[in-house]
């Protein structure tokens, strides 16, 4: 169970002159500071999958980074299983499995070594790590490339390895930042199946995505972030009901935009 309340984060802009015209017009830019996240709140319970939606630059990644402890919020709270993430980041990190959008791997290590390294960082014994790797390799169809160096992996192989690495310590919350971006249909399907398995096991999953079909397929809850604020936070059914089941219209509805306005945003 994770409970996020009133998260806020601003960044100092290194060189305001280098900002694009569109960035300069963003109302979140105040002098030398950019308020990336203003007020984001949501929660995700046992066995729930929460889809985090929002246009590019809305603040999704910053929000996920804050709840994963990579960034420290300026204000707000993140509580995982009753543990305050800000007060006890090390304990919180043991509870979170985080997949960043970059899915970076150590190229000169094999897939197995990449996963095992993070298992060891979590303090898991080698025998348990080995067993967990075998289990996940079967689930994610990784056996054929597990002992090859990661530098030659395809996007799908990288993503599968990164997912296995994120959950090697059997976290009580899994956070995935755009886990299917750039993947082919087969790899996407494997990732979707894996999220479903986590859900079946009762592990809460939060994932950001631009693919509304994935939200429809897997999510119980939807949170929409726009301009650094959570503008929608309810069940999938409530989200769908905003526009008679047409997901993309529901999404635009939460942004208070219509199709013509979307065209102007381009």
């Amino acid at each position: 169970m994770i409970d996020i309340s009133s998260l806020a984060k601003r960044f100092e802009v290194e060189n305001p002159k280098k900002l694009s015209e569109q960035e300069k017009k963003d109302p979140r830019l105040k002098g030398r500071y950019f308020q990336s996240v203003k007020d984001v709140s949501f929660s995700c319970g046992q066995g729930e999958v929460l889809g985090l939606l929002g246009p590019n630059g809305a603040g999704k990644t910053t929000t996920l980074r804050m709840l994963s402890t990579a960034l420290k919020p300026d204000s707000g709270t993140v509580v995982i299983d009753g543990e305050d993430v800000l007060a006890n980041p090390i304990i919180a990190r043991k509870k979170i499995g985080f997949l960043s959008s970059s899915t970076g791997l150590y190229g000169r290590l094999t897939g197995r070594e990449n996963i095992a390294y993070f298992g060891e960082l979590h303090g898991i014994t080698k025998s348990i790590i080995s067993a967990r790797i075998e289990e996940m390799a079967d689930l994610l169809d990784m056996q054929s490339f597990l002992d090859r160096r990661a530098e030659n992996f395809s996007s799908g192989m990288k993503q599968k390895t990164a997912i296995a690495r994120a959950v090697i310590h059997e976290p009580s919350l899994v956070v995935l930042d755009e886990p299917t971006t750039g993947l082919d249909i087969m790899a996407t399907s494997t990732v979707m199946d894996f999220i479903q398995r986590l859900k079946d096991k009762g592990t809460p999953v939060i994932f950001s995505t631009h693919h509304l079909d994935e939200v429809q397929m897997l999510c119980d809850r939807v949170t929409v972030i726009n301009q650094g604020e959570s503008v929608f936070n309810d069940s999938l059914a409530a989200f769908s009901a905003l526009s008679d089941g047409q997901m993309h219209k529901s999404f635009l509805h939460t942004l208070k935009m219509n199709t013509a306005e979307v065209g102007q945003c381009g």
Binding site: F11, R93, S100, S101, Y106, F118, E120, L121
Partner: protein
């Protein structure tokens, strides 16, 4: 921390570029510098010495004996006939001739009456050649002969002759032994190579361990692992430091081993002399002094690397760092800068000066206290800065 170190080092050993900078380059640099340079210098000098010089003498009728002497030495000189009004410079430039010797018509052995003879030697002195030396070998015989004739005519004894030739002589009593002489010449240069090699050895892993993590996208995942930040930093710091130290160890060992091999194998006398003079303790001290130096390098490199957005950006910062490192070594090479007073406390410069003193055999071992205190203090401060730097979101998520 050990876990981080172990993993980073495993990756390091699988990187060909790092292996080249860490092991291959230091192993090969010294034989390349000493051996190959010496070999080419010797062979060039030998070639210049043995080449048959093409020459012409203008006014040979005024010094027939000397001209004959040139003609007799066929293994060294070969005469080319030229016109009296020829353009000597052109003939030498187009390599028709190596030199032209012009003898004045007043040339004779009665120097007391005719005065000093001026022979003109036209040659191309730009490259390595032995023309003047080889011509002088023959001319000097006549110089001695003319001197003797003149002294005999003046009725001077040997002591008077010497006094006339050199009325005042400075007798140099060099208190420096050979080791000090060679230490002064080589000792200033060696820290330059050693520092640069240590820096190079640490640079490749440093780029990978900071900026490389950002570029690969592994940094974020690493930051949210339950390992404390300072342990991450120390794990990476020790990896870079050990890489630098391995480079230093290989550099110093290679210097010693290749010095011995070269001095025996290639019979380069001065290398043999220098190597015989420097003891194992000196090499051990050099290595020990390099430990805090490498720690300074490792901390600065890691800070630069983690600040950089990409591998390329990190390498450009590190390129500039080479300049910064060269500067204190250059100071140590300046005349008059010695390991005394304030210089003992100037990091890097003090180690470079100490290396020079060790090579010279004039090391003041009390200075080691200042050297180690200042370099260790700077290294510790830089490591602390590195940990602080690693905790700044502005640096990590630029």
């Amino acid at each position: 921390m050990w876990l981080i170190f172990k993993k980073e080092f495993k990756e390091l050993l699988r990187d060909r570029k790092t292996i080249i900078f860490m092991i291959v380059l230091p192993l090969l640099l010294f034989p390349l510098i000493f051996g190959v340079a010496m070999f080419f210098m010797n062979s060039a000098a030998e070639k210049a010495e043995n080449v048959v010089l093409k020459y012409a003498i203008v006014g040979e009728q005024y010094a027939p004996d000397m001209s004959q002497q040139f003609a007799n030495e066929t293994d060294k000189f070969t005469m080319v006939d030229i016109q009296g009004e020829a353009d000597y410079a052109k003939l030498i430039k187009d390599e028709t001739l190596d030199f032209v010797l012009v003898i004045p018509e007043t040339f004779n052995n009665e120097v007391l009456t005719s005065g000093q003879h001026k022979l003109q030697l036209y040659l191309n002195d730009a490259g390595l050649n032995k023309v003047l030396g080889r011509v002088s070998e023959i001319v000097d015989v006549y110089t001695d002969e003319f001197q003797k004739t003149a002294f005999a005519n003046l009725g001077l004894n040997e002591s008077q002759q010497q006094a006339l030739l050199s009325p005042i002589v400075i007798e140099k009593e060099n208190i420096a032994d050979d080791r000090e002489v060679w230490g002064e010449r080589l000792g200033g240069l060696l820290p330059y190579f050693i520092f640069i090699l240590c820096l190079q050895g640490a640079m490749a892993p440093a780029s990978d361990l900071g900026a490389g993590e950002k570029e690969r996208g592994t940094l974020e995942t690493l930051l949210i692992s339950p390992m404390e930040r300072y342990k991450l930093v120390l794990g990476k710091f020790f990896t870079i430091g050990v890489a630098g130290l391995i480079t230093a160890l290989i550099t110093v060992s290679s210097m010693a081993i290749w010095g011995i091999v070269l001095s025996q194998g290639l019979a380069i006398e001065f290398v043999a002399e220098v190597m015989a003079m420097i003891g194992i303790i000196d090499f051990v001290l050099i290595f020990l002094m390099l430990i805090p130096v490498v720690a300074i390098f490792a901390a600065v490199l890691l800070s630069l690397s983690i600040y950089a957005r990409s591998f390329k950006e990190a390498q450009s910062y590190m390129g500039a760092l080479v300049m910064v490192v060269v500067f204190p070594v250059l100071i140590a090479m300046m005349p008059g800068v010695k390991l005394e007073g304030g210089w003992i406390w100037v990091p890097l410069t003090n180690v470079a000066l100490a290396m020079k003193e060790l090579f010279k055999g004039t090391m003041d071992y009390f200075a080691l206290f200042g050297i180690f205190t200042s370099t260790v203090a700077i290294a510790a401060a830089l490591i602390a800065f590195c940990v602080y730097w690693f905790n700044k979101e502005k640096v990590l998520f630029r």
